[in-house]
Amino acid sequence: MKPIERSNVYGLLSRVYSSEPSKDFLESIRGSSFIEALGQDFKSASLNELVDELSVEYTRLFIGPGSHIYPYESAYRKDKGSIDKDIKNFIESRGLRYRSDFTEGPDHISVELEFMERITQEEIKARKQGDLKKASSFTELGKKFVNEHLIKWVPIFSDRVIDVASLSFYREMAKLTKEFILLEGVDKNE
């Protein structure tokens, strides 16, 4: 995949997991070739219904109350005790800041995906400017982040979503997420 495509997928998935879907977001997805991947109930429901149903589903899957799936890396990393702090430190040490009203944990899946979106964007920019050395440094940074973090937990997280989701939207999105991250972990210099 080209850097621009990878960047787009990161951006899209980051949006998917960041909060309940908005109407225009769903509309836009339905207008794209994406729709084929997202199952019959996603195609046929009315948009308003869909926003409502998916909001309840998002709440049930990722927020609770009650038993739900935790969208944080720290929950999956049995080997590491303070992964949330580490992620925050790493991201901040790379010059980025968290939005002050961001109330999720610093290792939320949408943060990690957005971080990768930013890295790939910088990579593209550097390449455009002809700074290949810088571009490959960003490639390395991304590789490191994927291999040290995303690959270690996002596939497990996605499996849980695939298991538990009752509507096709999040199930199919989770499948895409898993495949994409596995691919990213293997080789992304095509």
Binding site: K2, E5, R6, N8, V9, G11, R15, S18, S19, P21, S22, D24, F25, S28, I29, G31, S32, S33, F34, E36, A37, S55, V56, Y58, T59, R60, I63, G64, P65, G66, S67, Y70, S74, A75, Y76, R77, K78, K80, K85, N89, I91, E92, R94, G95, L96, R97, Y98, R99, F102, T103, G105, E114, R118, S137, L141, K175, L176, E179, F180, L183
Partner: protein, 830 residues
């Protein structure tokens, strides 16, 4: 369906671009990260090993009602350790395991982080996350409607654990400003009978056993070492007295609790018969002339002769037949205790959560009174706590008459009958709330007859709108229509005033040690916003502001408290014998103060419900509604004393061993024994169910704490081997425990440490909500379930059983106390 192949993923990349190229690329998602991404370090620097600054923040525990002063250690914004605050004169730097596990409350992976609106049927578990604005709009509209219709009382606020400023903000400000007096509490499932008995005898409740100076301690049914309301204060002083001065502690309990085990002697006793033993001991004290005649003559409303003749029916031999405690033991302990003055009697739910609980507590207070142990060093003392001044709002409060349960439930339910409130709502003859808000109260789990509680809460015809304010998804929260996520006690602003075993008031505060996660908000802040939306005026605009203003009014330095957590006036001396303080003439000759000839009470009639001075004079102190609020002092001979200040009842300033309040209702005015009716004609194979608490769990609110639940997550039923044998039950067998309201299945644990007629099942466990650790739900497959880094360390599976399913919500006839320890059950192999 499109198959996932690499080629498809490339297509996906292109498609994503199409999605993201839409009109608004963000679709409501704001970027989380800002700033310029760099390759090199430099935005902030973090040393991998050192350089971590641990902040130390003093605050107060609130795992249990003891509310000890603590210090919290915070590293990188994370709470990592809690210890006792050594500056506190109350807990003196010590806390218990529950206090240390407070960290688990903050980092419970199952906390509710956002306001939630019910999306499916009530109780179905479907929720929609909504904004605070939406939540408060909805709530405001409902509350506004009730105001507009002139029915503020149809807003019922029902709280459980609410103390200090948290309580004052709601009960002395928001609710009066709104106009509802339909305010429920939870005392009747705790120790309401104890307080009512004290109100009948010496007035305002909370007795402080001055164990550290006592020569001997008797304990009826209290688990001092594990679960008293002042657990850490009392237990450390008890141990100290025993270890350093050889003070003897004699524990009467149906069960060998850890307190009984630590006692000098454990005396097993049949449930509900403590009163018989106490009366017999009082009889011995009188017969042996061990009493304090000065105290009896001057401060009580009975004579030595009256006492002697009333008590002589209660012989040790009579008490032995009833209680199973040998007559010689009763006699020797009575003499020993009578000679050991000062001594003090500790009592709690084991003694009072019975049909005859009020009488038992009255007898206990009488025994200490006739020995002159009242409010003296080393005796049974009146509570001393910090006296905060704080902003108050006034307003007329209308109320629904549902707080005291059903008609005829009890004669003096001065602490209400919360476990009968749902029944009263079902009954409906005194109306029903349109908005039922529960705050730190678990009507479903904490009361008896759990199934009925669920059925009533689920019925939208009985309760059209339920709001739950809670940081956690409890059994009751699961039945709400709207959930407002509160913060935990480690993220709040409040001041507090728990009683002090040094008899010197300690001022202390709670301050946030970490910032609240998600969109959780302290409810007292939410209330300030609600008030604004409803157009009500409060004199403060946040919980922090209220604490600050209270500090100003109380002349306590807010900045000092932020730094040290606690403060007491170094000039203060322990306040013993406060009743013997003589009043100055200007105090009782002030305007509006009348002398009531019948009782010798000076009282300010203006503070009562009397409309005119004539009405007050004609009706007199005892018959005028709320006259006790104007109590000034008690005339004895030619002097006027502070006396035993009444509360909730128009009692005199004497220590009333004889109670006219009870006489009026057909009871013997002197402390007497009557049996628990259900225990009178028990079938041979029936048993009495007792519930209890352990040292590492709090009532119903700590099972989400993984450290505590790792230690205690199973509660098999204690059965005496002799009894078990007769029923063919072996250790570890599954057994069925059945009462008239239901049955539960649990395992038998055979132990000599329980009375042969008793089956003991602890409280705390058997949750079916309250997150993964408490309920076991969501953590069925430990290998795959993930919620936090060490969730895979959850090696245990059991969640225990909850005994309240089979405990009837029966009230005692005087106070309305839930008779937790009276339930008769059949026990069989399952």
């Amino acid at each position: 369906m499109v198959k996932l192949t690499r080629r498809n993923l490339i297509r996906l990349g292109i498609a994503s671009a199409a999605v993201l190229a839409g009109a608004d690329k963000l679709f409501g998602k704001q970027p989380i990260l800002s700033g310029k991404l760099k390759l090199e370090d430099g935005g902030k620097d973090f040393s991998p090993e050192t350089g971590k600054e641990r902040k130390v923040i003093p605050t107060a525990c609130w795992q249990c009602v003891s509310r000890d002063a603590v210090v919290c250690y915070v590293e990188d914004g994370k709470l990592v350790k809690i210890e006792g605050n050594p500056e506190s004169i109350r807990n003196r730097g010590k806390i218990c395991a529950k206090g240390q596990a407070g960290i688990n409350q903050v980092y419970d992976p199952d906390r509710i982080l956002y306001p939630m609106k019910r999306a499916g049927r009530r109780g179905e578990g479907k929720w929609k996350r909504i904004s605070w604005d939406e939540a408060l709009n909805e709530l405001t509209a409902r509350l506004k409607k009730l105001l507009d219709e002139g029915h503020p009382e149809k807003f019922m606020f029902h709280y459980g654990r609410m103390k200090g400023s948290d309580d004052k903000i709601i009960k002395d400000n928001f609710l009066p400003a709104y106009g509802t007096g339909t305010i429920g509490n939870h005392t009747s499932i705790c120790e309401g009978a104890k307080w009512v008995a004290q109100e009948l005898t010496w007035g305002k409740h909370y007795d402080v056993n001055d164990v550290q100076h006592a020569n001997m301690i008797l304990n009826f049914g209290c688990n001092i070492m594990e679960a008293h309301t002042s657990h850490i204060q009392l237990s450390q002083r008890t141990i100290e007295a025993m270890a350093e001065r050889g003070t003897r502690l004699i524990t009467f309990d149906v069960r060998l609790s850890n307190t009984a085990a630590k006692s000098t002697e454990w005396i097993p006793i049949k449930p509900g018969t403590d009163g018989a033993v106490v009366l017999a001991m009082a009889n011995v004290v009188m017969q042996e002339e061990l009493y304090d005649s000065d105290f009896i003559n001057k401060w009580t409303n009975v004579t030595v002769d009256e006492l002697k003749s009333h008590l002589k029916q209660y012989t040790p031999e009579w008490a032995e037949k009833i209680s199973g405690v040998s007559a010689s033991k009763i006699r020797s302990l009575a003499i020993e205790y009578g000679r050991a003055r000062p001594g003090t009697i500790v009592s709690y739910r084991g003694a009072v959560a019975h049909y005859n609980g009020v009488e038992t507590e009255r007898a206990i207070k009488m025994l200490d009174a006739i020995l002159g142990n009242i409010d003296v060093k080393g005796g049974t003392c009146r509570a001393v706590s910090a006296k905060w001044s704080y902003p108050k709002a006034k307003g007329e409060q209308k109320k629904l008459k549902i707080l005291d349960g059903l008609k005829g439930d009890a004669i003096y339910p001065t602490h209400h009958i919360n476990h009968r409130v749902l029944k009263a709502i079902k009954d409906g003859s005194n109306g029903r709330p349109d908005v039922y808000m529960i705050y730190c109260y678990e009507p479903v789990y904490a009361n008896g007859e759990v199934q009925e509680n669920i059925d009533i809460m689920k019925d939208e015809k009985l309760l059209p709108y339920i709001v739950a304010v809670n940081p956690f998804y409890t059994e009751s929260t699961a039945l709400a229509d709207l959930i407002l996520p509160d913060v935990t006690y480690l993220e709040r602003w409040s001041w507090d005033d728990m009683v002090s075993y040094e008899h010197i008031g300690e001022f202390y505060i709670r301050q946030p040690v970490v910032s609240p996660p998600g969109q959780t908000r302290q409810f007292q802040d939410v209330v300030c916003e609600l008030a604004k939306r409803l157009g009500l005026k409060l004199d403060f605009d946040s919980a922090e502001d209220f604490v600050k203003k209270s500090c100003e009014k109380s002349k306590v330095d807010f900045e000092y408290l932020k730094k040290h957590g606690v403060w007491h006036n170094p000039e203060d001396k322990p306040k013993y014998k406060s009743y013997a303080k003589e009043l100055k003439p200007e105090q009782y000759t002030a305007e509006n103060v009348l002398l009531d000839a019948a009782t010798g009470v000076y009282w300010d009639w203006k503070k009562s419900k009397a409309k005119t001075v004539e009405e007050a004079q004609e009706k007199g102190y005892t018959a005028t509604k709320d006259a006790y609020k104007g109590y000034v002092g008690q005339k004895i001979g030619s002097s006027v004393y502070a006396g035993f200040k009444p509360d909730k009842l128009n009692k005199s300033g004497l220590f009333e061993i004889s109670s006219n309040f009870l006489k009026k209702e057909g009871y013997n005015p002197l402390p007497s024994y009557f049996p628990v009716p259900e225990h009178e004609n028990m079938k041979k194979d029936e048993m009495i169910l007792t519930t209890y608490k352990v040292g590492v769990q709090i009532h119903s609110r700590s099972q989400n704490c993984k450290w505590l639940t790792e230690i205690y997550h199973e509660n098999p039923a204690w059965i005496n081997p002799a009894t078990a044998k007769s029923k063919g039950i072996k250790d570890g067998d599954n057994i069925k425990v059945k009462s008239r309201v239901g049955d539960i299945i649990t395992k038998a644990k055979l132990t000599e440490g329980v009375h042969p007629q008793v089956i003991a099942i602890s409280h705390h466990l058997g949750h079916w909500e309250y997150g993964a650790y408490a309920s076991g739900r969501g953590c069925k497959d430990y290998q795959n379930h993930v919620c936090e880094p060490d969730c895979h360390n959850k090696w245990w599976k059991g969640v225990g059983v909850h005994p309240n399913w089979i405990i009837p919500n029966s009230p005692d006839p005087i106070a309305g106390q839930l008779r937790f320890m009276d339930t008769v059950v059949e026990v069989t192999r399952a």
